[in-house]
């Protein structure tokens, strides 16, 4: 009897049944959400916010203004033009090296540096990054790609030239070019976290400044960001084993490049040449004005030390450098500062305020303890590049730094002693201040927060204070009695809550001007007051600018911003005329926009306008001494002491910034 169900059908059906065995690729790595701040390679003091919430230093307009300043005729708008302009492939000194940048940006880098007979120096760097390998990290493939000049992984080309600018000054200028077309780019994604504008992505770690654009949209100081060329820290590089690309094969070239970089660092004013050391022959001697107001070539000592000190007699690179002022703190220097901070910080600072170069423990690094906590452990935007930041957090450096902070009264540990990492919610209710009511508070500068919970901790006896919209970032406080009120903010991210942070509001219904009414004219008056004395140093009287020319470069010992009235925008007669119109013909508006660069709208308490006069890293020391008990005379009549008047002025600064620093 034949089977009614055909056996072939059974076989095929069985196979068909099993053929349904398939699956989705659940084992593949999934792009991890970006945690922590996405502010790498951006200035931590990002300047005035734009209407779309971005910051001016990270806008297309900023990049356009920069290129317009350093290349007004677009004579270098392609890589080819730029290379031709800088003489690549012609005479002079030209060396090329290939290395893996393991520490900073993770690229395989093919760098060609040249010095022309006229003393100008240019560096062209092709960057290679094999994005296909999971995450943005350094790996040997990046180096191999650079060796092979594998166009598949060529992600960009950078150009830096140290040459005269259209304004006649010689300074470092930064370009980035499309790896395929060679066209000059306004922005680049250096770390896979989206495009960021030029030149901030370069100069944030080359000692540059992030000053605001002028009212005409021009770049400040005609493109002189004060940025410098970086020396090459050879020990942090990876090298190929391919012939011609090993470290021994390239050691001499790397030294040559470091010598060329050194050529861009001024010798101190008054230095007699020859110095007796050949590496100094190419270095210009700074003019008095430049030397005493600008960067002090701090890195020169370090570069020399890498090659045996003065004379640079060692053929090979060796980093045992510890600045003299770090003796006794070598562990902290070698474990934290040298590998994670120095690369950017050593190019920063001026003679007036050089603390930020971290070349001294006692007088510089130690005084930044509060900001170190804020940037490293709270905000997470230091170290400023993603790879170096990751390496920092996978090293012993956080422990060393936490111990340093422990010893300076800053706690960055949880109850179990574990080091706190950025990403946890942190409440920021704003700075203590005097105000009128109703007062709109702001917790918007809280970190990693999505929920807000305000409460009143203490109040004046008999008062009936209220908080409207207490579960928002911007509640409104009101009360019926003048006096002191302490409010508290707790923020959360949905799964964790912050520690409570308090803000003290001193309510003064007669405060004048009222916080919402504070304008630039009020701030200008304070800055120009004889009691603050700011204009004693912040004055255009000591500047290199000729009459009618903006004083781009200050004279000796003067700061980079002036608070005096002078012709800033080329329209005589409007400075300090008492008329405030927000346009480029109003000199006061030029002053105003420059001053806004001294406000940090993401971290108000960190605004230079608040920190400097209160004695934080200020060449002029503490100006606003709240404890000054001197009797008040005009113009501070009405205040019991000069200290009270200072506090009131500081309070005006705070209220101005809290309200967005209106003109």
């Amino acid at each position: 009897m034949r089977p009614l169900l055909h056996p072939a059908a059974v076989t095929l059906a069985l196979a068909a049944l099993l053929s349904g065995c398939s699956q989705s690729n659940t084992g593949d790595p999934v792009a991890q959400p970006i945690t922590g701040p996405n502010s790498f390679l951006l200035f931590p003091n990002p300047g005035a916010p734009q209407p779309n919430g971005s910051f001016q230093t990270n806008t297309t307009a900023y990049a356009q203004a920069y290129y317009a300043a350093i290349d007004p005729l677009n004579a270098k708008d392609t890589l080819t033009k730029w290379m031709n302009a800088n003489g690549f492939g012609t005479g002079g000194t030209e060396v090329a090296v290939v290395f893996g940048d393991t520490r900073d940006l993770g690229y395989g880098r093919r760098m060609t540096v040249r010095r022309n007979v006229d003393g100008t120096i240019a560096a062209m760097v092709e960057n290679y990054l094999a994005y296909s390998i999971a995450d943005y990290v350094y790996n040997r493939v990046n180096l191999d790609a650079a060796v092979a000049r594998d166009s598949r992984w060529h992600v960009g080309t950078n150009g830096i030239e140290f040459s005269p600018a259209p304004n006649g000054q010689t300074f470092a200028k930064f370009f980035t070019f499309n790896p395929v077309t060679g066209e000059r780019l306004l922005a680049a994604s250096l770390d896979g976290r989206g495009e960021k504008a030029m030149p901030g992505i370069c100069i944030s770690c080359h000692g540059g400044r992030a000053d605001p654009l002028t009212p005409t949209g021009g770049f400040p100081r005609e493109g002189n960001t004060r940025a410098r060329l970086q020396p090459l820290h050879v020990d942090s590089f990876d090298f190929s084993s391919a012939a011609g690309f090993t470290r021994p094969d390239q050691e001499a070239k790397l030294k040559t490049i470091n010598q060329l970089v050194l050529c861009t660092y001024d010798l101190p004013q008054g230095t007699l040449k020859p110095t007796g050391f050949a590496e100094d022959d190419c270095r210009p001697v700074a003019t008095s004005d430049a030397w005493f107001s600008q960067w002090q070539s701090t890195a020169a000592e370090m570069v020399k030390a890498w090659y045996g000190g003065d004379g640079m007699l060692s053929a090979g690179f060796s980093d045992t450098y510890v600045p003299a002022d770090w003796v006794g703190q070598e562990t902290l220097y070698k474990g934290v500062v040298a590998p994670y901070c120095r690369v950017c910080h050593i190019l920063r600072g001026t003679s007036n305020q050089s603390d930020v170069d971290f070349t001294s423990y006692l007088f510089k690094f130690e005084d930044y303890a509060d900001r170190i906590k804020a940037h490293v452990f709270d905000r997470g935007n230091m170290p400023l590049a993603k790879i170096i930041n990751r390496r920092f957090w996978s090293s012993n450096a956080p422990e060393l730094l936490a111990t340093f902070l422990d010893n300076h009264g800053f706690n960055v540990r949880d109850g179990s002693g574990n080091i706190l990492r950025p990403g946890r919610p942190l409440a920021d209710p704003g700075p203590d201040r005097t105000t009128t009511v109703p007062a709109t508070l702001s917790g918007a500068n809280s970190l990693f927060a999505s929920t807000y919970n305000w409460s009143i901790v203490s109040k004046e006896p008999g008062s009936s204070p209220t908080l409207t919209n207490a579960n928002t970032a911007t509640p409104v406080f009101n009360t019926n009695i003048n006096g002191t009120y302490v409010l508290q903010l707790v923020v959360g991210n949905g799964s964790a809550s912050s520690n409570p942070e308090q803000v003290t509001l001193t309510v003064d219904s007669g405060l004048s001007p009222a916080p919402s009414a504070v304008r630039f004219s009020d701030i200008r008056a304070i800055l120009q007051s004889s009691l603050t004395g700011c204009t004693g140093c912040h004055t255009d009287a000591s500047s290199t600018g000729a009459a009618g020319v903006p004083p781009w470069e200050p004279l000796g010992f003067t700061p980079p911003i002036f608070y005096t009235d002078y012709n800033r925008g080329g329209t005589p007669g409007t400075a300090g005329d008492g008329v405030y119109t927000a346009n480029s013909t109003d000199d006061d508006y030029w002053f105003y926009l420059a001053l806004r660069g001294r406000a940090n709208f993401t971290d108000i308490a960190a605004s230079p306008l608040l920190r400097k006069p209160t004695g934080h890293h200020h060449g002029g020391g503490q100006v606003l001494d709240f404890n000054n008990t001197s009797a008040c005379v005009a113009p501070c009549s009405g205040f019991a002491t000069l200290g009270d008047w200072y506090r009131a002025q500081y309070n005006t600064f705070v209220n101005w910034i809290v309200n967005g620093a209106p003109y």
């Binding site: 009614l4 053929s19 690729n25 084992g27 790595p29 094999a130």
Partner: protein, 331 residues
């Protein structure tokens, strides 16, 4: 009986090319599903005349000629379990056990069907992430044009298996379908060949693979108990190589995923299209009708189809040598 003899379309023994497990294939999934749909359709057509009567099922079972169980225990030395280019290969030893049961269903005087179920395990000595268990089934359809001695037997087969590894990414399914031919040349020499499409569906995309293979085999019976066999196979399609990062592999690969089967250092699995040659030389010594000892050597050589211009052949080619000793039993 020797290793791999069971059905001409080939038994599931250790894969000596590509990963020791499924590698990747999105297109493979689609292809297999289509095949499954076809097979299911044929099954329905074939069974359409069959009202669901219990008697029919019983008669079907009665029609199967059960061919018994087979078991195999093997020891293999593999000099390149990562299938990596020279300098990055890893050696390991593998213990394997495989059991199967097969039945044949005569369909007519010239056709028959066969079904087989199999399961087994492989245990790696060092790289335990490659250890795995598998279970699967195979269906064959055979046709022989005449009963003459030299008449060839033609076949078609479908095979599928589920594999679970001690690591995660390789877990998945392995499928194959194709056609076979078996032809006696003399009373001592027999030739066989197969053209197959092989599809792997791994948990990771890198272990989704598909390739086409053409295989030939010659058995030479030296006497009643001794057989020497020689096989050659060419595969064209996806293969996976696991190694440390090199520019050559990165530029070659279609998919790159960090391999979770190795923890000695960070290694990545690279899937790329390749042409692969396999050669097998074996000797089988039978001890009676039901037992035999099998010794074999296999050599695999694989080269990418699309090597980048900046790579040398040695940077991309991988070679594998496997030496196996197996005890086989039928009961």
């Amino acid at each position: 009986m020797r290793r791999g003899e069971i059905i001409p379309s080939g038994s599931r023994t250790r894969s000596v090319i590509g990963p020791l497990a499924p590698a990747a294939c999105s297109t493979g999934n689609t292809g297999w599903r289509e095949l499954g749909a076809v097979a299911a359709g044929l099954a329905l057509l074939a069974g359409a005349s069959a009202p669901a009567r219990a008697a029919g099922y019983s008669e079907f079972l009665d029609s199967i000629e059960f061919r018994g169980f087979r078991a195999e225990a093997s020891y293999t030395s593999d000099d390149n379990v990562t299938r990596a280019p020279s300098g990055d290969s890893l050696r390991d030893r593998i213990l394997g056990v495989r059991v199967s049961a097969a039945g044949v269903i005569p369909l007519s005087t010239r056709t028959r069907a066969a079904v087989q179920g199999f399961a087994g395990t492989q245990k790696f000595g060092t790289y335990t992430g490659l250890s795995n268990n598998f279970i699967g089934t195979q269906g064959d359809f055979f046709f022989r044009s005449s009963g003459e001695f030299a008449a060839a037997t033609y076949g078609a087969f479908v095979r599928t298996a589920k594999e679970e590894y001690d690591s995660n990414l390789r877990d998945g399914y392995r499928h194959a379908f194709g056609v076979t031919v078996l032809k006696p040349v003399t009373d001592r020499i027999q030739l066989s060949g197969a053209l197959a499409r092989n599809i792997s569906d791994g948990k990771s995309t890198v272990f989704d693979q598909s390739n086409t293979s053409l295989r030939g085999n010659a058995d030479w019976s030296l006497g009643r108990w001794d057989t020497v066999y020689l096989g050659a196979e060419f595969r064209r399609g996806d293969t996976v190589s696991t190694g440390r990062q090199t520019l050559a592999l990165v530029d070659t690969a279609d998919v790159i995923v960090q391999d979770d089967a190795f923890n000695d250092t960070t290694r990545f699995a690279y899937r790329f299209e390749a042409r692969t040659w396999l050669a097998t030389l074996g000797y089988n010594r039978a001890f009676g009708e039901r037992h035999s000892l099998d010794v074999s050597w296999r050599r695999v050589q694989s080269m990418p189809l699309h090597p980048p211009g900046n790579a040398s052949a040695s940077e991309l080619r991988y070679v594998v040598n496997q030496f196996s000793v197996a005890y086989l039993a039928r009961f």
